[in-house]
């Protein structure tokens, strides 16, 4: 149960701090996973790259949609903030633990998809647009998977609030009770952040796809949103599948941090290792394999929850 809410006056600064720190940790972890880069370089490279983007001056394309040019990256980052509000930050602490936390997280995912499309449309350029079109083909399939696994996790708690879902794992973590949940949720994380196997919207053949025309601060805001979303998905996984703040000896927030970092590492390692998919293959795999597995996960959780 969430018993403490962050003071509304502090909620904004806390969210910005967590999103900035989380995005930084994601960038450092991703750098460590690449070959030839040690921790000595990995901790400072993200900061240097941010500096490059701050030095670069804005560019434009022929007849872009000027409003979307800035709105899409801001909206993408905003969805990370929205999702963060319902995720526990410590034992019984959250920014705003509404009774329908799962729904809020789902809404954030949908808004992120909308932001991705706006980003593809904004520059009026063929390669970003083509990358966005592909994304349209795959998004529905993995979005359904997301809903199934999150509802399955909510069933034992008999509540849609994330705090209650964490509380329901005091004796048994959901990762053991519902072993399919976490791997399926990882696919959703890669889809929303266009990372690894689901990089269709920013693949090399489209010169970076939805960010092909973005440079400077515009790209910085987009990448901040993308890295922050990856962190938010790791934190959500820790809360919903790995028992959240539950754990012996250490304080709850330390357990949350440790679990989040482990999931973050696994997500980024998997993204580096797994094969990239063609549009057709991605759709076939999600509809014929992942979606049925999501059904099984939900059905098993439902049977277990029967009195």
């Amino acid at each position: 149960m969430i018993t403490t809410h962050v003071n509304p006056l502090l909620a904004g600064p806390v969210a910005v701090l967590v999103l900035a720190g989380g995005a930084y940790l994601t960038a450092v972890t991703a750098a460590i996973i690449r070959p030839g880069i040690g921790i000595g370089t990995a901790w400072r490279q993200p900061l240097q790259r941010v500096a490059v983007l701050l030095v670069q001056r804005p560019t434009t394309t022929e007849r872009p949609d000027g409003a979307l040019w800035w709105f899409a990256p801001a909206a993408y980052l905003g969805t990370a903030a929205l999702a963060l509000t319902v995720i526990p930050l410590g034992t019984g602490v959250a920014i705003a633990d509404v009774r329908t936390g799962i729904v809020v997280f789902g809404v954030a995912e949908v808004f992120a998809i909308v932001a991705l499309h706006l980003q593809a449309w904004g520059p009026n350029s063929i390669l970003p647009l083509m990358a966005g079109t592909r994304y349209l083909a795959v998004m529905l399939s993995y979005e359904l998977v997301s809903m199934f696994v999150l509802i399955a996790a909510a069933l034992p708690a008999e509540s849609l609030a994330i705090g209650d879902i964490v509380a329901s794992q005091a004796d048994l973590w959901n990762v053991i009770r519902q072993p399919l949940g976490l791997p399926l949720f990882a696919v959703v994380a890669w889809g929303i952040t266009t990372w690894g196997p689901l990089d269709l919207a920013r693949s090399p053949d489209t010169a970076g796809g939805i960010v092909a025309e973005a440079s400077g601060r515009n790209r910085l805001v987009w990448e901040w949103g993308r890295h922050a979303l990856m962190f938010v998905f790791a934190a959500m996984s820790a809360a919903v599948f790995l028992g959240g703040w539950h754990g012996p000896f250490l304080p709850g927030w330390v357990w949350l941090c440790l679990k989040t970092l482990c999931v973050l590492w696994a997500l980024l390692w998997g993204a580096d290792r797994l094969p990239r998919l063609s549009t057709e293959r991605a759709v076939v795999i999600t509809w014929t394999l992942l979606l049925p597995l999501g059904f099984v996960d939900l059905a098993a959780a439902g049977v277990e929850a029967l009195p």
Binding site: R44, Q45, I126
Partner: protein, 355 residues
């Protein structure tokens, strides 16, 4: 001053390099992939340094200028036409100079106007039928055409891609593609002159060598999006070390359906071709003549260019790009012929802004 402080931090980042690869420079550019001080970026919009490596024909200035103007300020150009020498140091120094502001950003090269005027033809002035089709401002608008798969009428749009796209793209290859979504309905080679690449062009003028199987594997990994695996592969000292990565590389193209990019010439699809390149790169004598006659070598080089229209039709753009990279196309000598029409071509990224 904040600006100079920020610039000094930015100067410490890896040089963000977008390479334009001319004759004889492809190996030098590919080697940059293994350097921690250099990032070979996906789009000129992400770069601080434009590298013009090897000999790029003067007739192609229109393309290079368009790519140049897509780099955000501050930007800098590094020319390496012949022996690259200290290429990495030059690139790092250039990045440093332009980030700290000790070197001024290069001014635009292209005209600040739309390359082609609006054409006042047809019911809405764009030159097509109804509200569709036509080429206003030289940009082809979508027009419906029959869908390859189920006979529906879907929007068709024409796009030119090349002659530069990324470090893994065969430089000089210019394609005219007709898309429905990202499905290629029709592919034509607008200019089939990938630049000849030699081991050391400055010393061995004339003699050309095809790309090695290991190099084709590197390029294909780049096209797929496995840049870190490509770096690991590039860092391998020889066939023995490479064989340790063979399984992972074969799996890296497992995300493409069997049959993708299949050619009747060598009887292989993309995945089988990649398996064969990996096999050739991990045995000690890759050009061993003991290859049985019923097992032809993978389709590659100049011979493959003529097959591109057949190979690419029906593929999605991602499948097509990876197929192109797996063919090792940088073999043919630049042939005679005029420079292609620059005005409506897509260089590196599409639809360049005027000014």
């Amino acid at each position: 001053m904040t600006g100079s402080w920020l610039g000094r931090v930015a100067a410490g980042a890896p040089a963000q390099v977008f390479p334009l690869v001319g004759r004889g420079a492809r190996r030098h550019v590919r080697d940059l992939l293994g350097r921690d001080e250099i990032d070979l970026v996906a789009s000129p919009r992400h770069a601080t340094v434009l590298l013009m490596a090897g000999q790029i024909p003067v007739a192609w200035d229109g393309f290079t200028d368009r790519v140049h103007d897509q780099l955000p300020h501050p930007r800098i150009v590094v020319h390496a036409p012949w022996d690259p020498g200290d290429l990495v140091e030059d690139l790092v120094a250039a990045h440093h100079a332009v980030m700290t502001g000790t070197t001024a950003s290069t001014p635009p090269r292209g005209p600040a106007t739309a390359p082609v005027d609006w054409k006042g033809v047809g019911p809405h002035g764009q030159g097509g039928e109804g509200m569709m089709g036509g080429t206003p401002y030289g940009r082809p608008m979508a027009m419906t055409g029959e869908d390859l798969r189920d006979g529906l009428q879907l929007d068709l749009v024409g796009v030119r891609i090349g002659p530069f796209l990324a470090w893994w793209w065969p430089p000089g290859l210019l394609l005219d593609l007709r898309f429905q979504g990202d499905l290629i309905v029709k592919a034509e080679v607008a200019d089939a002159r990938p630049f000849a690449q030699t081991l050391d062009d400055a010393k061995h003028m004339g003699g050309t060598t095809p790309p090695t199987p290991a190099e084709i594997v590197t390029d294909t990994l780049g096209a797929v999006g496995h840049q870190s695996l490509a770096q690991r592969w590039l860092a391998c000292a020889g066939p023995a070390q490479r064989s340790g990565l063979a399984g992972r590389i074969r799996r890296s193209v497992a995300g493409f359906s069997p049959g993708t990019g299949r050619s009747d010439v060598d009887g292989r699809d993309l995945r089988q071709r990649m398996t064969e390149w990996v096999r050739l790169a991990t045995i000690d004598t890759p050009t061993s003549p003991s290859t049985p006659l019923d097992d032809p070598p993978p389709l590659s080089g100049a011979a493959a260019v003529g097959h591109l229209p057949v190979l690419l039709a029906g593929l999605t753009w991602r499948e097509a790009a990876v197929t192109i990279a797996s063919l090792g196309l940088d073999l043919s000598e630049p042939g005679p012929g005029t420079a292609p029409d620059v005005d409506d071509a897509v260089s590196a990224t599409a639809l360049e802004a005027p000014g």
